[in-house]
Symmetry: C2
Subunit: 213 residues, 2 copies
DNA sequence: AGTTTTATGTGATTTTTTTCACATAAAACT
DNA sequence: AGTTTTATGTGAAAAAAATCACATAAAACT
């Protein structure tokens, strides 16, 4: 349903690699440099750029500044993206204090929790009651939410978010959610990610080639 | 390099869906029930099971208990998996207090940090100096690590982990890491995940069908 | 100005992943 | 016991993703 998702995630990875290269003074990259820095195949880099209409200079590679600008435009980094956080538990709170989003022009503008003891409308990022969530979303026309509530509350919270006008969700709740087709949900499942690591470390699924003698 | 990675991550998702179904009293599932609960195609479920040698009953579907047991064996859930956490910052600390791992038989046995002010060998999960990390890994034969250190320290920390015998890493540091082929690294990039959501919400890349008019 | 070099951009190819579709076998029903 | 029903398991087909390979054009060098 969502086309070239891998290309989009790689764009993000290229961006991060480019910033790193830029920070050490590099001005120009070639597809193989960048591929190397991003851990992919050089043809993949060029193909991805082709998909998004990014072009470089024959023989001259890509000017990092220009390339970054094009990628950042594609990733909507030209203005601050306001996001709300729902669920101020363990993970939610870490995300609230996470400095990584800000440098990517993503700002958590408010958090919401069902537990009244956690509310604090005076905090740098105010924490309001979920009862106020729907009106906040509507009034501020928020389109993005980070969902970090317990599994049991996840689906109903999502329904509420969707009803209020949220169009994209990063979901940390350990449950697959249902939403209309025009809502984009990215499920970040920490247990699953770690279990995948465990599988490859302890299974012999990654034994190379055919087993011999 | 790592075969059927998607099948492995789906296994994890099936497990979680099955547990949920079990918790509400369901005893038996069919490939289409499970597919529905896990958000995939029924043929995908059967194909995945086929890959891992899991079989059900012709016409009778799958007994949840048996199925769960088989999946859990595949995912090495028969014993507690000891993991170390490196980097006790914002994200690291949230993971330390995250209750989700424990119910999956994953236990963070120790944490390490470069900042001496954060050390606490008396805590439920002791926090030691990184200087002690290598010997801890060797002595306890730890194979799994969660890496949540700042980008600048990530590669050298990884090198140290690998040298000490770590074979699988869940990496939260916002940088792609280099490691020998026999080390499995799973990169969880929070900015990237959120940027992907932003892309699909604000680009018109997901407009349906060919543009008309 | 002409030649050589070199890295892009993209069709073609290969590989991987997903889905289809149906033969098969077990259960349910008569 | 025989017939029908129904869901598995898997080859075959389709779709998607990654990689190859080369024509092309711009830069560098003579």
């Amino acid at each position: 349903m969502y086309a070239f998702k891998n290309s989009v995630t790689r764009l993000s990875r290229y961006k991060s690699a480019l910033k790193r290269l830029k920070s050490v003074g590099v001005v120009k990259v070639f597809s193989d440099n960048l591929a190397d820095a991003a851990g992919v195949n050089p043809a993949q880099v060029r193909k991805d750029f082709s998909v998004f209409g990014i072009s470089g200079n024959k023989k001259g590679g890509y000017q990092i500044d220009e390339l970054l600008a094009e990628i950042e435009t594609l990733l909507c980094k030209d203005k601050v993206q306001p996001v709300i956080l729902v669920g101020n538990g363990n993970i939610g709170n870490a995300l609230l204090n996470y400095t990584g989003f800000e440098k990517e022009n993503i700002k958590i503008v408010a958090a919401f929790d069902a537990d009244d003891n956690k509310l604090n409308s005076e905090a740098t990022v105010p924490i309001y009651s979920v009862d106020e969530m729907e009106s906040f979303i509507r009034e501020n026309q928020i389109k993005l939410a980070i969902l970090a509530v317990p599994a049991l509350a996840a689906q109903e919270t999502l329904d509420l978010l969707v009803k209020a006008g949220i169009k994209g969700v990063m979901n940390f709740s350990p449950i697959s959610l249902r939403a209309p087709d025009d809502i984009y949900i990215n499920h970040v499942d920490l247990e699953m990610e770690l279990e995948t690591v465990i599988f490859y470390v302890f299974s012999n699924a990654n034994a190379e080639g055919p087993q011999r003698g």
